[in-house]
Symmetry: C2
């Protein structure tokens, strides 16, 4: 019989197939060499007839783990994070896992609340898109639930599972690009340095500039106290505009920061300097043809995350994916000249 609106139970399938529920379970879960071909066929057709799917609650209760994988993102409004989430969801689904997506707003307390909730859900794994350090994270680190750190490494510096790009190399490439394009005075606008991605990028840019003979002192480094990258970019650009000497290029540690800076420059009415960002969501081609950006293949992150989870390797591992500098010099910049 069919339960009200909730599919059929294993009992119904067993009854229809004329076998025990244990056999149904084995067939459904593909336990090898445990059922005759004939029985298997009968069970399968009963499953199809009743459109049976094992209730996840029963399964989770018994197995002490669910098919849920938590993805905790620092900011869903960031198209880059949304892209990672979308990619993760596809990859997880391919393995029969279900993504639970939460927005931590980059706040430790909220991250902790979600971590607790996911523990109650017996989540199979936790994926942190830009983690912050928090008590619960500390408690779960080293526990049985795998934790994958995406973009930002483990803030506590553990050599845990990680998916990201080589930020140092990317930072160097961006710096060299600006110099090669003729920029003499270069500014950096960055978000919180608590993020490993940010600090690695800033350090690499500065070192590369120094190596090319640009004195450290001539590089303007700006930031602003704000969780919102758009606001950081806007306010930092404002301060750059207040300086006596203008800058030729502004390197931003994220595209959102670059968006914020760009807005300020456009409001100013003058020609915006060369702007470079990191992330490069597909939307950039459409709405930000003026933004050169380090394209990070977020559409592949899902597979990278899942492969890290699948590796039963107890050894800590990382997936460093290739990036590519997308040079854009579209209308908005040209027109200003």
């Amino acid at each position: 019989m069919t339960r009200s609106g909730a599919g059929s139970s294993i009992k119904a399938v067993a009854a229809l197939a004329g076998v025990s529920i244990a056999t149904v379970s084995r067939v459904v879960n593909g336990v090898a060499n445990k059922a005759s071909a004939e029985t298997t066929a009968r069970v399968r057709s009963a499953v199809a007839a009743l459109d049976y799917r094992p209730a996840s609650a029963g399964r989770a209760l018994r197995q002490r783990t669910s098919r849920l994988v938590a993805v905790l993102a620092a900011n869903l409004a960031n198209p880059a994070m949304a892209a990672i989430a979308a990619s993760a969801e596809i990859a997880l689904r391919k393995r029969g896992l279900v993504m639970v997506l939460c927005d931590t707003h980059d706040r430790p307390a909220l991250q902790d609340e979600y971590l607790k909730e996911m523990q109650a859900q017996q989540a199979r794994a936790i994926v942190l898109l830009a983690a912050v350090e928090s008590p619960m994270l500390a408690a779960m680190r080293g526990g049985p639930t795998p934790i994958v750190f995406v973009n930002r490494r483990d803030p506590a510096g553990s050599a845990g599972l990680h998916v990201g790009i080589d930020n140092a190399a990317a930072g160097r490439e961006v710096a060299v690009h600006c110099l090669d394009a003729g920029a003499r005075t270069i500014a950096i606008i960055h978000g919180s340095l608590a993020s490993s991605a940010t600090s690695e990028r800033v350090r690499a840019v500065r070192e590369a500039l120094a190596a090319r003979g640009v004195p450290h002192a001539s590089v303007v480094v700006e930031t602003a106290e704000d969780d919102d990258h758009l606001a950081i970019g806007y306010r930092s650009a404002k301060r750059l505009l207040e300086r006596s000497s203008p800058v030729d290029a502004v390197i931003c540690t994220s595209d959102l920061i670059a968006f914020g800076a760009h807005r300020r420059y456009v409001e100013d009415g003058g020609a915006p300097p060369r702007l470079v960002g990191f992330d490069d969501s597909p939307l950039n081609d459409w709405i930000a043809p003026w933004l050169t950006s380090v394209r990070i293949p977020y559409e592949n992150y899902g597979e990278a995350i899942v492969s890290l989870l699948a590796a039963d390797d107890r050894a800590p591992a990382a997936r460093i994916v290739p990036y590519r500098l997308m040079v854009r010099d579209g209308p908005s910049r040209n027109r200003g000249r």
Copy 2:
């Protein structure tokens, strides 16, 4: 005792508090008048000491429903959908519910797969951000699981739960705005008319123009066969540019379509016509100062959705939220003049 990494069980709490598990359950679930103040306190402190959270699997098994609410979005790369998801997640969390977010890519087959999965998860409710018609949806309609249709109404036309704006009124306002701004030749670019939101907007624009004396025949209506709104906008704008007479204003049924059209116009090098869209994600202020758009308060959608779910009213209901036309005439347009 603490289970490996998965929090503590109700048994552990009962043992520590020196009561039965039933009492713990009652206290945790706040069953009124069922425990003395002293017992309640003892249980609470045991809960705190062990950091206990009821395992959702046990609860779901017993109650035949989980605390999961599925949100099936047609396209997570659309900032508007991401905004709704973020808002829904906050509102659900406030009621102790957990959001499961999936990207259906606007494909019936994928939507069905998720619907089945969510049935297996015994989801408390289903929220469809831009639903398409599909067999499983038809099967679940009228079932015990509440389904909320966001933006697009139920494609089968049922008067089910719905959250959205008054698309007809918004369409009229947009049309009048264009005329008042001096536009004489107006084009409409729209996505699939299977979406109630789209068809209502297009119809209202045309009717409003007709009412103001603009002959139906002079309104250029464009679309393109594509799931991707950006591509629809781009390709439709291309065709508009191929016409002998240019248009003064282009009304797009979504911001993404407007982004696509804008790109094409910018590539063309000429002055883009007045562009109007729908959605107006917060990002627009930063990256699309040229886009006038119907601002839909997606940040409030979460509460609207949850309130619809809470209303045990068996009568079908809808939450029509207020919109606001955001008139923008930023740099990109001015500069082109």
